[in-house]
Symmetry: D3
Subunit: 159 residues, 6 copies
């Protein structure tokens, strides 16, 4: 029996919070897909290809993950790659309510896929890609929020 | 003594969640106005007239309701139609906080109008018009979220 | 068509918060039953009879209310007095979640009875019978939290 | 690589909510331990042995589960049975905050064990063992909240 | 030892809620800076200079405050004016979660600056600049939400 | 102008969470009173005198604090020691709501005393005296949750 999970997100860029979820959930499954959302509505800082490259660099030491991109419904890509589990990180209550509703909707759309939630490490509890970008844009130090390689890429983009 | 209530919303389009609130609150009052908000800021999927028509079709069997549109302050339209009660559905805590603040503000603007909250049926607890549209846009099945007639109208709009 | 509501609680003793809900909901219904819970588990400060008497004094000017006591399931007493509506006051989010669950459970037990929620007046948003008693026990002034008559009765009980 | 999870609780008695979590999480793991807490503080309705028997009857058709009892720290029993995952069901936000804190504490006590959260089915979102017992004690119908076999056992205990 | 605090915000325009926080926190510090955020993204109703002027008029009777504007990171302006304390008002839980995350992020960026939270007066618990502007735009009365001088300025802007 | 604050609690025993709040708030005031609640209702693990001694040992290096005990209303002891500020730590949303209500009640009882809230350090966000005692009682390691001296005292009490 194969045991596959998918961890979806925008990852624009990935933060230490995302990387903590990846590092902790990968050992629980045979394979973990990290799925980068192609969201045509928003203006991202990094292109989908760049985001995949950054994730690849930052997770190079984890064997059983594969980084992919997806559009459309999450339950469809989950089914396509054979994932029975969607992994989501919860930082706080406001996350929870939205994610709870999405989990119920996804369950309605495809009862074969379960969403499992994981708490973020407390050190990352306030971290988000948006916050990191906002701090960087205002000249703040982000070395404690993202890996060094990503810090440099953000600097290149912004200055 | 006349006992009139008003149930406001964008209804773009109405979902099973809205229809559940309407079906359960109509019997509690002599008359229930379902009031469609004319919101010039957002780009709706359906025009106000179309939304009124869809609501009309979906609530055809309820005698004591009237579907109207409104702009401006909710307490003004409430007073105009003689409603002493504003009905709002609560799905979850995030709804609650916003609605709580609006209820207090409306009470401040017109102390004669009370807001009464109703819990949504659990099956609809994650439903919103936006979610339905997002699922439909991505080719997901929405037959469990909206009446059949509305499902067809959404399909016509999107494809 | 008769339009009856029931407002249940422990009322040990009633506070300005309870009285605000009673004063605002009574005009919305033909009749409002204020139902005092006989809770054998807790040690109340006032007996059920005393609580009914205090409520009676404090609501003497409202015509269409009747104060009763009840044990057992709320939906049963609601049905017995012909109430289609249960009124509950919400002070804050923590209230909301518990009350939401009770409303769903009551709906499951008797689909003919609806729970409607009302926000408390902001001045009473932190008020509870327990808090009032705790303040009184510690010699604090409670005149802004309960009617004068009740303040005196609490003093008699505690000193 | 063995993939074992543990689902802890009081289960006094198990409800449809618990059984839904068990049925949905068992297929995601090679083995699921359902662990009944021996809580000496509270006065349970059912003894630990009775609770295990009820769970056994209600989950008879699921092959890969084993029902055990435990005292002391959850992370210790998890380690003892070789579970890398603790499964918890979340009904609502108030659950979430407590469970979040426990997950962080457990992570602090044993970093090798992850807590994964699962949303309850919406139909069970207001269900708890306490509520079921309270309704039963007051003569309410609980057939929609627990399996038939458990309904009968509760009746035997209470009458 | 000098004891300086900073109270940041958009103040577009300041409401009775903001003024309540200013009036209550100013006496607790030797000096309170009220810092108006220059936010180039949003289209404000009042320019930064106008917002400073309105705040100045509304706080004329408080001696130990100085109204300034700032861009960039809040912790930088705090350090620049020698403030060890950031003051934030909390109206409700949704405020809390966002502010909590910002406080943790700011603590990460500059551990020498503490964020202290103050509850809003209950009468202002639902007040926000956006709500005031929305009500005013729809012809509602805002005299209970802002000082008279600001009410007039809003009227001038909108009509 | 004297600038005095009071930080109340049960401190049975004090945890790293309490000590973090003390260490961060003491520098913001001329004097900080740490006030141990004499709560006759609960059965504490440590007596009030023991709790004061433990706090004394753990805060020996902070000059401007004084550890006292109190019964009755917090606002009374605050006034007695000349404190204009009550300091409270917030770990999570559930804390917030209760503390918010207490802050409003205290403001009602004595408008001259302000409650200021401080976020806990993320590492301590799940910590409580009860949790520490529960873990210790079950033989878990608590060295990361309390100072070494307190760990030993808890061990003496429990074994």
């Amino acid at each position: 029996m194969s045991n596959i999970a998918i961890y979806p997100g925008s990852f624009d860029p990935c933060t230490n919070g995302h990387l903590d979820i990846i590092a902790r959930s990968a050992p629980l499954f045979d394979k973990l897909y990290v799925a980068v959302l192609k969201n045509s509505d928003k203006k991202p800082l990094f292109s989908v290809d760049e985001r995949i490259a950054l994730l690849g660099k930052a997770t190079a030491e984890i064997d059983n993950i594969e980084i992919i991109s997806f559009g459309g419904l999450l339950v469809n890509i989950a089914e396509q790659v054979g994932a029975r589990v969607i992994i989501k990180g919860l930082r706080a209550m406001s996350d929870f309510e939205y994610e709870f509703q999405m989990a119920l909707a996804n369950k309605g759309l495809n009862p074969n896929v379960e969403t499992l939630f994981m708490t973020t490490n407390t050190d990352n509890s306030f971290l988000s890609s948006s916050l990191v970008k906002e701090i960087a844009r205002n000249g703040g130090k982000i070395s404690q929020f993202v890996p060094e390689a990503i810090e440099e890429e953000i600097a290149k983009k912004l200055y």
